[in-house]
């Protein structure tokens, strides 16, 4: 089975979810592009969008259509060549409409998982629940005569575990997209102990065709991305608990969030990132990773408490942010959750006090948005960190410790052989988390 044949009959499980919808979108376009090649004109391409909710599938199709229209508008120059032999398609309008139809025409939204019994390739993006994944893989494996390949989007469960428990004979690979898949460039690729070479090689070809960056990660719970993020998050939460001894919780969250965003020149603070991913999701990923870790306890009572209070973060179907540690209004975060009073306290009530306690940023500081897209960002960051070194304010001291801890996590991922190189660690943080620089650096020696 060659590349094209492998992509003729595909299913995405959990297609209406945040990750599944992105994988569906990218795969549908790749399949449509193949179907439009002259040599494939007689072949049929089918992509099942499988999800338990019919309502979610209806919403999914609206999302997919909007995204495909945008993608088509972007590649109209190429599409005119693709449809050069169609005399009836003259204007960009005509061509874009046709392309959108051709992509949508490949997708079959269904609520029955059994359609995967015919497929040769299965993307799995269901709930991060090892038992559920194993159950579904096993039943497909029993009923599908094609010896299908399984690409799981798990961000934390070891691939070898899934392979063994579902008896997949090495036809499984971790293909971990980042949220949202349509935008994020990074895909972590994780081989299990017995993953077959061809299953691995195809994934690299496919990821390359999607114009994404594949970074190999070894099969260790959490892989590189969550391996860094979960430890970094736990560190941030613990730092806030320390501060909470001398200030209120709300103030402590504000200070740590500010340090981990502005002082570290990151796109968002650590509490905002936890909210973005979802407080329950973070807690769950930690619980999946924790049994596999030696000498570490990856667990946070604070996350448990927030979950018990029903404050979960995460996102609405529209992509907008739900309230979590922080409250979100149009312009961004505006208040912080007080777990005792069970209410949000507006920034205005404590911001000035916190800012005074933290001290001011070095004059050479520039926001992430400016630094990230500057060709001379290395020089900017070097001079910023040189200035930061010389400052002994509370904010600067927290930032220096935070920075070095993040670096140590990166180093550990390499030492533990989760990452093949320090460079891979940096690539994951820069492309998957949009950091302006990788955690393993020499800015603070």
């Amino acid at each position: 089975m060659n590349y094209t044949e492998r992509l003729q009959n595909v299913a995405v499980l959990g297609a209406a979810g945040k990750m599944g919808s992105g994988i569906l979108l990218l795969t549908a376009q790749e399949m449509a592009d193949l179907s439009l090649m002259p040599e494939n004109k007689d072949k049929t391409f089918v992509l099942y969008a499988v999800d338990i909710s019919a309502k979610a599938l209806a919403d999914l199709m609206i999302y997919i259509k909007g995204q495909v229209v945008k993608a088509a508008e972007k590649k109209a120059v190429q599409l005119r060549k693709v449809y050069a032999d169609r005399a009836d398609l003259v204007e960009n309008y005509d061509i874009i409409d046709q392309y959108v139809f051709d992509v949508m025409n490949i997708i079959r939204p269904v609520t029955r998982m059994e359609v995967a019994y015919d497929c040769s390739l299965i993307f799995e993006a269901i709930k991060e629940d090892p038992a559920l994944k194993v159950k579904i893989f096993s039943s497909i494996e029993k009923n599908n005569p094609n010896k299908p390949w399984y690409y799981t989007n798990t961000s934390s469960i070891p691939i070898s575990q899934l392979d063994e428990e579902a008896s997949l004979g090495g036809r499984i690979l971790g293909v971990h997209f980042y949220n949202p898949p349509a935008v994020q460039k990074l895909v972590e690729v994780i081989r299990g102990k017995n993953t077959l070479n061809e299953v691995n090689d195809f994934a690299y070809e496919y990821i390359k065709k999607l114009k994404k960056i594949a970074v190999p990660s070894n099969d260790f719970a959490g892989f590189i991305g969550n391996g860094h993020f979960m430890r970094d998050a736990l560190y941030g939460i613990n730092e806030a608990m320390n501060l909470n001894k001398s200030m209120t919780w709300v103030e402590a969250v504000y200070c740590i969030n500010k340090v981990s965003q502005d002082y570290l020149v990151r796109p968002m603070g650590i509490f905002q990132l936890i909210d973005y991913v979802g407080i329950d999701v973070c807690s769950y990923i930690m619980s999946v990773m924790n049994p596999h870790l030696k000498d570490e306890d990856l667990h946070s009572d604070v996350l448990d408490k927030m979950i018990s209070l029903g404050v979960l973060g995460g996102q609405f179907a529209s992509g907008s942010q739900k309230d979590g540690f922080l409250k979100y209004e149009k312009g961004g975060p505006s208040a912080i959750y007080d777990m005792e009073k069970k209410t949000y306290v507006p920034f205005a009530e404590f911001q000035a006090k916190c800012e005074a306690w933290l001290g001011s940023l070095p004059a050479s500081w520039k926001p992430w948005k400016t630094v990230s897209f500057d060709k001379k960002k290395d020089a900017i960051l070097t001079s910023y960190y040189n200035d930061l070194k010389l400052i002994e304010s509370n904010g600067a001291n927290l930032a220096k410790k935070y920075h070095l801890n993040s670096k140590a996590i990166g180093q550990k991922l390499y030492d533990d052989k989760v990452a093949n190189s320090l460079e891979d660690v940096n690539t994951v943080l820069m492309t998957g988390f949009f950091h302006a620089y990788g955690p393993v650096n020499e800015y603070l020696k």
């Binding site: 120059v77 599409l79 005399a87 003259v90 204007e91």
Partner: protein
Amino acid sequence: MKLRKKVYMVAGYNTVSMGTGRKEFNPKKERPGLEQLMKEAGQAVLVQIGGAKNVDETVVGNFMAARFNRQAHLGAFAAYIDEGLRYKPSISVEGACGSGGLALASAIRSVLAETADVVLALGVEVQNTVKAIYGADILAGAGYYAMRKNGHAFYFPGEFSDRAGAYYEKYGREYTRKGMATWFKNAIENARLCPTAQEYENKVDDLISLGLTEPNPKGFTDHLNVFDCSKVSDGCSAIAVVSEEGLKRIGIPKSEAVEICSFAVAVDNLTEFPAEPTEMRCTEESVKQVLTDAGITKDHLGTVETHDCFTIAGVMAVEAIGFAVKGKGPEFIANGNTARSGSIPFNTTGGLVGWGHPTGATGVHQAVTLWEQLTGKAGAAQIEIKADKPYGLSVNMGGNDKTVVSIVYKKA
């Protein structure tokens, strides 16, 4: 056309050229439409000429409101501009991006025909109603529809990219692109002096490097980058076209007006590709006629507003008008001759690349700019008009050098 009677232009006005580049532009927010822009510009002229009661006729130049805005019949908006224009004559004219020039030609003819002494001439276009990729379809209407299928997604950039490619082939790529980048730099620097210009707030330091950005054939055209292109713009320009009697009626002294010395409208066959892609022959013919009819040569020109829908069109226009022989345009431009301080300043408020290109309005915008320059009303963008070079020339082009309206002006 040699004029059998004195015709003047006076009391011009330009709205802002709205689109990317302007701080206040947000594609998702509602903006003034055709009728609001026409009212703004029309009223601004009426205020200067003593009100609508003094107007005999209105002419509206517009290219594609029928598709950009799903609106035709623009002539009847005259009565929306001002109650005083109700029941008076008004027409709209179309000749692609030369529509504004045709509106002026039509107004001049009315005065010459003595059916009007005061004509309100407007040009208007509102293009930001659709994304650029669909706008390209609409603008492609300036070409021959039978050629559309084999054209580029961005049809006109594609056509002029082909011209640029041919020019590179014949005269050298690096040499030509240097001239084009200098054209871009002049356009932006001039636009920074004109508050209504779309690139008024452009703050880029190294404009030459930006202009020399390598074209990206996968996303755009083979031989042009986006900086080689004019802007996607919403805008309206208006000016009064009047007879000697008309001037008296509106009570404005001659010294505030420009005299129209000659005008020329020329067309070429829309169904043909350019016979020689490195030359704009219709422009050349139109300019030859207009200079002859005015009884002057290019050496009498103090400034030119030319239709630089693309930087390469600016290069070819410099040659078509006769300032450089074929193949020497890039050098002439790179040496600074067309800059505001050069031997013949071109497009002193930025032209189509810098000021903006609300297609149907552009011809009228050129006339307003020349009226301002020749009567000393150009503000920060004012250049010195020397006594031995008192004439201004505007060249307004529709499509790929298919309709060209040229006009010669001098201070009355």
